[in-house]
Symmetry: C2
Subunit: 377 residues, 2 copies
């Protein structure tokens, strides 16, 4: 018997209540029954996005909502700043390039986060920049960007700030309206605790002006069609009804716990994981670690890919390895979504068992003990 524990930075565990809500007989998307759910869901999404703006829902992965942000804000030949501090920052650049947007790339060393001053400087040097694309938590490195400080720079300028919060929304504080973020994109399979398949894009009145002027070709991700549909409590194209029903159930749980407590919980779990890693003699990878995922250097003499594989295949505990240039060099241990102290303890214990089997020298229980110490604070 292998009991499974999902400690990856997405997909994350889905509460049974939510899974079962999606197992009810399918309903039609253009009925009062679904519209009631969809309306509630949209209101509760606003709560999580901390905004009064509309939140648009697409049947797609998170990348779809990133594409929506690019094609709805810009025209071919426009200029945008793309902050690249990992795989998902690079995606902004790739998306812009696919649509003929000129990019001013701010290359940040992986594991680090952009210094807001760099963005201020780039804006001064490039007066024609219309949009700044950023990543709140760079899932590939586990580093957190100071979006509040960046919004402080952009909010009074004639420039729109877009943040990929796919892995951070519902895990780390991100105040769309009060910080002055113009566009936030997110996905379903992270802090929102449902399976992958939905993506979200919330957009401020300031950013909406660009939507009306943007000339990038678009159809499926056209926010003008999405807005027209939302006014009639609908999506432009068939809603992924079961995922919306699951999301509505998950959002109710989130609202009940409150964002404040959810952020505290993630912070507490993250501190515990970080202290545990240090207690095991391991080195953290991200310079400013995000509270949703902890990236850790694979110690010398240990095969990083085998470590992840053994934890999964022998103990049923899934963590993530490094991606692209970080393959085999780091592992990523998530504290994201539907997780509590004992999910973390299970993950740490499995890590200890596998590290021990792989010949890494440490005192067993040290990591778990350090985590417990944090929980007791």
């Amino acid at each position: 018997m292998i009991k499974k524990n999902l400690l990856t930075p997405g997909p994350t565990p889905v509460p049974s209540e939510v899974l079962l809500s999606m197992a009810k007989p399918t309903i039609h998307h253009r009925t009062p029954e679904f519209q009631k759910i969809f309306k509630e869901m949209n209101e509760n999404l606003k709560y999580v996005f901390q905004t009064k703006n509309d939140v648009f829902t697409f049947a797609s992965s998170g990348t779809g909502a990133m594409e929506a942000a690019v094609v709805n804000l810009l025209s071919p030949g426009d200029t945008a700043i793309c902050v690249q501090a990992g795989k998902f920052g690079e995606r902004w650049t790739e998306l812009c390039q696919a649509y003929g947007i000129k990019t001013v790339v701010i290359d940040v060393e992986w594991g680090d986060a952009v210094d807001p001053v760099q963005i201020e400087k780039a804006l001064k040097e490039n007066k024609n920049v219309k949009v700044v694309f950023t990543t709140h938590c760079e899932t590939s490195t586990g580093a957190l960007t100071d979006i509040k400080a960046i919004a402080g720079i952009t909010k009074d300028k004639n420039v729109v700030l877009v943040t990929d919060a796919i892995s951070s929304l519902g895990g780390i504080d991100l105040q769309m309206d009060s910080w002055g973020i113009d566009v936030i994109v997110a996905g379903s399979q992270k802090g929102l605790m449902i399976p992958p398949g939905l993506a979200f894009c919330s957009i401020s009145p300031k950013a909406w002006k660009l939507v009306e002027a943007a000339k990038c070709p678009r159809y499926y991700f056209d926010l003008r069609l999405a807005k027209k549909a939302l006014e009639k409590t609908d999506t432009a194209f068939t809603s992924a009804v079961t995922l919306c029903i699951g999301l509505n159930a998950a959002l109710k749980m989130i609202k009940e716990e409150t964002l404040e407590k959810i952020f505290q919980r993630h912070n507490c779990l993250a501190r515990a994981v970080r202290e545990a890693m240090k207690a095991l003699g391991l080195k953290l990878y991200a310079k400013k670690p995000a509270d949703v995922v902890t990236s850790v250097y694979v110690p010398d003499g240990v095969d990083g890919e085998a470590l992840v594989k053994t934890m999964r295949d022998v103990y049923g505990v899934s963590i993530a390895g490094g991606q692209d240039e970080l393959k085999g060099k780091i592992f990523r241990f998530a504290q994201l979504g539907y997780m509590n102290e004992f999910d973390i303890i299970t993950g740490l214990s499995a890590l200890e068992l596998v590290l021990a089997k792989m010949g890494y020298k440490f005192e067993t229980g040290k990591g778990v003990g350090a985590a417990e110490k944090e929980f007791l604070k």
Copy 2:
């Protein structure tokens, strides 16, 4: 107690076995466990598409796969033929226009299907046409297009035939390889018996040549990225894992029943519905009705929207009304996906009850009786 029956042309009923397969704890998409399911799913999709070509899966509604066909085959300024015989044919034209494709529109009266000769003529008159966009079953009217005859015209020409089979795949015979169809797009919530949220695009080697030359901007729906990922048993962006798991379960049911028997079942149910409508004195709307949905004129003196609403709210039986210009003028009764004789009988009986209450004159049981007669053949 209102027991619900979904007789709409999508979403269609999802078997409990499939719903429950999706209610299992979420797994990560980049694991051997998911890859095994994904591989099986892809093989079984080929069976349903009746093809040796790759079938690409997107997390999106069916419209996403339509967009994939447009942006991956064409460049701005190219010319395409769009057959418009209803709302979904119009979508091809809208998509082409959004991406700067010149369109030769063949306008067909709603309820009718294009005469293949019209396509032959349009191709002769427009030598520069690269792609012909068609709709197998036009869901808004219930009319079936003779794709086999059209493929007979296009297959030896330097033109690519694309068919929207969103509402027909897995319900009506459509032989991609042996008829010579170049691209088929489909959706999950119809004949494939799972909830909305997945879309598919299968593409022939002949069409693939256009993919490499196409200059429409694209990213999320880029088939080149999809192909590279599929070679590694993956999708370019996070798979909608639960929907894929559900699809795999549904495809196994389809393979077990066999396509041959599924097409017979749909044909039998469709004949029963058509005979029932005639026995009730109602007039069929589509000139060449498809076996997956029967469109029927609302009789004089009956409020079409109230008819659909009453069936749903009082008896729990959902059928679809008319869309756009057909609103209130027709209703659409589906025989699509996970349905048997008694789903049809239930639907017909509810229709009789509501028609009787609305003052329409007929002999109760006449429709049900005519359907039974067909079942006995």
